[in-house]
Each structure stands twice: as C-alpha cells, then as structure tokens.
Amino acid sequence: MKHVNHVNQVNQVNQVNQVNQVKSHAEGLGPGGGSGVPTTGTPSVLTASGLISPSLTSSDIGDLRLEIVSKTAYLCAVRAFMQSLCPRLGFDGAQSSQIVLGVDEALANVMKHGYQGNEHGRIWITITPFQDSATHRGAGVRIVIEDQANQIDLAKIKSRDLDDVRPGGLGVHIIQRVMDEATYEHRSGGVGMCLTLVKHVNSPAVRGDTLGLDGTGLDVPGLNKCCEAEGSSSGGAAA
C-alpha cells in the first residue's frame, strides 16, 4: 500500500511538472523558457518537484526539478539532495560524490560568473534518470542546469592549464573530469545558459575512484609522496 501511495504521488507530481512546463513556455520564464527578467519576489530556498522513496526505481522517479536562488549558502541543500538521490539511481559512493561535486561546481559557477553575485537570480536543475540500452554504459542520469544570467562565450568555457598553480579556475576542469558529458549551450532568447551533465553508472573510473571507503585508499600514490611546500612551484595544478 505504501508503495502504491508513492507511485500515485509521483504521478501527481509528473502532472504538475507538465503543467509547469507549459506555463514556463508561455511566460518565457523558467526551464524551457527563453528570455525574461529573473523572477522577483520572496526567494524560495529550494523546491523539489519530485518525491523520492527508497522503494522506487529510477524509472518510477521520472524527472525531478529543483529551483534555487543564486545564494551560495543554499548549495549545501543541493549537495545533500544529490547525495541522497544518486545511490538510489545505482551510483556507488565514489560516483555519487563525483556527481555532487560536479553539480556543486556548476551551480557555483552560475552564481559567481553568470549572476556575478546577484543573489536574486534563479537556477533550475532538472534531473532525469535514464536507461541507455544502446551502449554498455548502462543506466545513468542527465542533469540539466539552466539560468537566466548573462550568456558567456562558449569558447571561453574550458579547463585551464593545471600546471599553473594559482587559486581559482578549476571548476570547469572538475566538472569535465567527474562527469561523462558536460555540454554548455546558450538558452534561446539571448539570455541564460544551459549546462547538460551526464553520468553513467558504468562510466570509466575517475582518478580518485580507487580510494576505498574503508580508508585503505589513503595509500595511494601522491599522498605518501609528499613534497615540501617550498619545492612545489613546478608541480601540480591550480585550484
């Protein structure tokens, strides 16, 4: 009985999503909409348009949509949400952590570079689990992050030279490393960016995946091969 209730709730949510999508198109606001001034009014912390239950499979869950204002203080809420969701979609601990990191970095970039610190901007995150029968990579998740911020030259969105050790500029590199796909696009209407992130359950291991959950992973190359700070100028990467 409990399972049926959850399914019914999700079905209701899906209906609401469809209505919201139509409304967004009509008003030119929100995901799928084109131009438009960022929504004003009382900022919502986080609204989830989906309900999740441990008893649901990914195909039951369907789409989930989060809306967040561009306040960095709320990134922790999205991280917690993604950390809770990803294992239920079949991702292991390391993969779930990578998805959390990728989404967190993407949102931080929107807030910093897109909205340039304006905390009234809106960001939409649409999460869609999928089954990929065409490849051996199996099930996965597609995460679309949309905003109404200034559009950034797509050619300028790239990982920087990691040998240049300096603070900042690592977000794009991290996103590209931890996700299988990261595609940046301009939203229609001349305003806003759209970033599509894809991660498969059977995706190749990312360096760092070898770290075990039992702490044995601490014996990895690099950790025990410590360099003194004074001798570090020619190695490593930037943050």
Binding site: A73, R79, S97, P167, L211, C227, G236
Partner: protein, 116 residues
Amino acid sequence: MSEVGHIQVGVTFAQAASGPMAVVSPVGDIGTHEAPTLRNAIRGAYDKKPSKLVVDLSGVTYMATAGLATLVEALQLAKKSSTQLVLCGMQERVLAVFEISRLTSVFKIVKTKEEA
C-alpha cells in the same frame, strides 16, 4: 540556530620543537560559501607568524574547488612568510578532489596531525 552553510574553524597555537606552530581545524563542508571562513582563519593564524601552519582536515566532509583555492592561497602565503604548510587528516572524499585536481604533489600532506 546557526545560519545554513556555515562551518566552524578552530585555531590553536602551540610551541613545537621546531618553533611556534598554528593548527587550523575546520569542521564541515568547505564549499563556495564556506571557503571565506576558512580563508579568514588561515590568515588570522599567519598573522601570529608561526614557523609551521597545520591545516587539520579530518573534520572536513566535503571540499569544493573554492576550498582548494583557499589552500593554494595559503600555500602562496606560506612561501612568502617562510612558513611550512602541512595538510593532514584528509578524508578520502576530500583527497579525491585533490587527486583529480593534481594537487597532491603540490602540498605536504600527511595522514595524521601527529605526523604533521
């Protein structure tokens, strides 16, 4: 009630055999929002002119690139002030971020605070 997205950062000072030592111990997630709190704590510790600054990351459960940037900045400060910077106690999730960013060879990283 604490504000969302805040971390606690403890800072202690001690006299080690090698000279004055400062230990900065953040607890919680170090994301974009929290990184400035860590940055202020590290800068405050540098103001005391320790010969060694240890950042104990054993209480850090998550680190974004903003946290990495803060630590790279701390490394640059260490070079300028002839302070030895040591990171310790990284949980594997945090260490993974350093690895992906190829930063493990840039810092002096040890497992425990005692080793630092």
